[in-house]
């Protein structure tokens, strides 16, 4: 019995190990103030403790491959009102967005060429500097410039031409 269980476990664990090298959880680190951590006991969900950090460095990239049809808005009225067109791109406030796949993609793009002006990303590549120019906040990441903005209730970054 024991051997069966351990055999079953070996394959997924291997996949996890492999996957963890492919993953760059930039956004998580940024939003929650640094990777690491995660060791402390999680407080009861009072929604308060900002010092508790989650560590997603071992997240399997497969967990980010979400079907379009899975969006399940937690407001009854929005789901059941036929007048409201539920756009699959629009997510509920509780959306547990996994930025990992996008982060990896952005990093790759930046490494090869520069980011496409006008495109939007949910996460920034590493080593960005915040710049305030004429009262507007930018993030300069190497030769690419990003302007943070709210898209829905999440911050995203639009790739822009250098502002000066």
């Amino acid at each position: 019995m024991k051997t069966t269980v351990s055999k079953l476990l070996i394959a997924p664990l291997g996949a996890l190990l492999l996957a963890s090298f492919l993953i760059v959880p930039i956004a998580d680190a940024k939003e929650r103030g640094g990777g690491g951590g995660g060791g402390g006991a999680r407080k009861a969900a009072s929604g308060g403790d900002r010092n508790v950090k989650v560590n997603n460095s071992k997240t399997d990239v497969r967990s980010t491959k979400v079907r379009n049809t899975s969006v399940n808005n937690v407001n009854v009225s929005k789901n059941t009102n036929v007048n409201v067109n539920i756009d699959n791109d629009r997510r509920g406030w509780d959306d547990d967005y996994h930025p990992i796949a996008t982060a990896a993609a952005v990093t790759a793009t930046v490494a090869v060429t520069s980011a496409v002006i006008g495109s939007m990303v949910r996460t920034l590549p590493p080593s960005c500097v915040a710049v305030n120019h004429g009262g507007v906040i930018y993030q300069q990441c190497g030769s690419s410039w990003y302007q943070p903005q709210y898209v829905g209730s999440n911050v995203q970054y639009v790739v822009i031409a250098p502002p000066y």
Binding site: D28, K30, E31, R32, G33, A45, S46, G47, G48, R50, V54, R62, S63, K65, V66, R67, T69, S70, V71, N72, N73, V74, N75, V76, S77, K78, N79, T80, N81, V82, N83, R90, R91, G92, W93, D94, D95, D96, Y97, H98, P99, A130, N132, I137, Q147, P148, Q149, Y150, V151, G152, S153, N154, V155, Q156, V158
Partner: protein
């Protein structure tokens, strides 16, 4: 003797079975057509909505477990929570929290401000002068989903209760120690259930939504806890930007 009795019993059963079968099938069919929507369950929704509209000042916390379906049909659950502080008709503060992000929405009757503490960014937009209209406008203009918007829609003409295709009373259950009436509804591609506190304060205690559009049927479970005598001060509805916070814009949905 015993064997004889058994044989007789079996014979009786065998004879009775076709009869019983012949009698039962028409019943459910007729029933489904005639009373799919139990008017008492619809009334319970209306009563709850009317009661919700009478609440002037309250605090409510939602613990939400949502699900997403991966490409191969495997489901993953995720947890989040939201606390709403409300002063009708035109003040609201929402704190939304999950393991990935924390956000605040502050509405003072004139402006709605989003704030992301971890990034120290905030964005403001002019808003209508009541919560219901504010919620609608943020959704329509910016795609911002305010938590628990149902609470501001139920009890108003916008509540889509006339579209319910099936409604039933599923009995009472204890939710966090309180007796709640359990009602189940079907509507379009969604099944949903609500537990409403029994008695003269019909507050929603639990809401479950099942999405039937996906064969994996992802579901969300929301547990609500209420405080009708909240201690918060009016200052919670004023957004004061922290010293090092930076303003950014809120992108309209029609921006391209």
């Amino acid at each position: 003797m015993l064997q004889n009795k058994l044989a007789l019993g079996l014979l009786a059963l065998a004879l009775a079975a076709p009869l019983a079968q012949a009698q039962t099938p028409p019943a459910p069919a007729a029933k489904a057509g005639a009373s799919a929507v139990d008017p008492a369950s619809i009334q319970a929704l209306k009563d709850m909505g009317a009661y919700l509209q009478t609440l002037r000042r309250f605090e409510v916390t939602a613990q939400v477990t949502g699900e997403k379906v991966l490409e191969d049909g495997q489901k993953l659950q995720h947890d989040s929570s939201a606390t709403l502080q409300v002063q009708r008709p035109n003040k609201l503060k929402a704190k939304m929290s999950s393991s990935r992000s924390e956000r605040e929405l502050i509405y003072d009757g004139k402006k709605a401000t989003l704030y992301t503490p971890a990034l120290k960014y905030f964005g403001s937009a002019d808003a209508p002068d009541n919560i219901g209209a504010m919620v609608k406008e943020l959704e329509a203009k910016f795609g911002i989903d305010v938590p628990l918007t149902d609470l501001f829609i139920w009890g108003t003409p916008q509540a889509p209760i006339d579209k319910i295709e099936s409604a039933m009373n599923a009995g009472q259950e204890l939710i966090a120690g309180a007796a709640c009436d359990h009602h189940a509804f079907r509507q379009g591609r969604f099944d949903w259930q609500i537990w409403i506190t029994a008695g003269d304060k019909p507050l929603p205690c639990k809401i479950v939504i099942t999405n039937r559009a996906d064969e994996a049927r992802p579901q969300s479970v929301t547990l609500l806890s209420w405080n009708l005598k909240p201690a918060f001060k009016d200052s919670v509805f004023q957004f004061v930007a922290p010293k090092d916070a930076q303003p950014i814009k809120i992108r309209p949905l029609d921006a391209k």
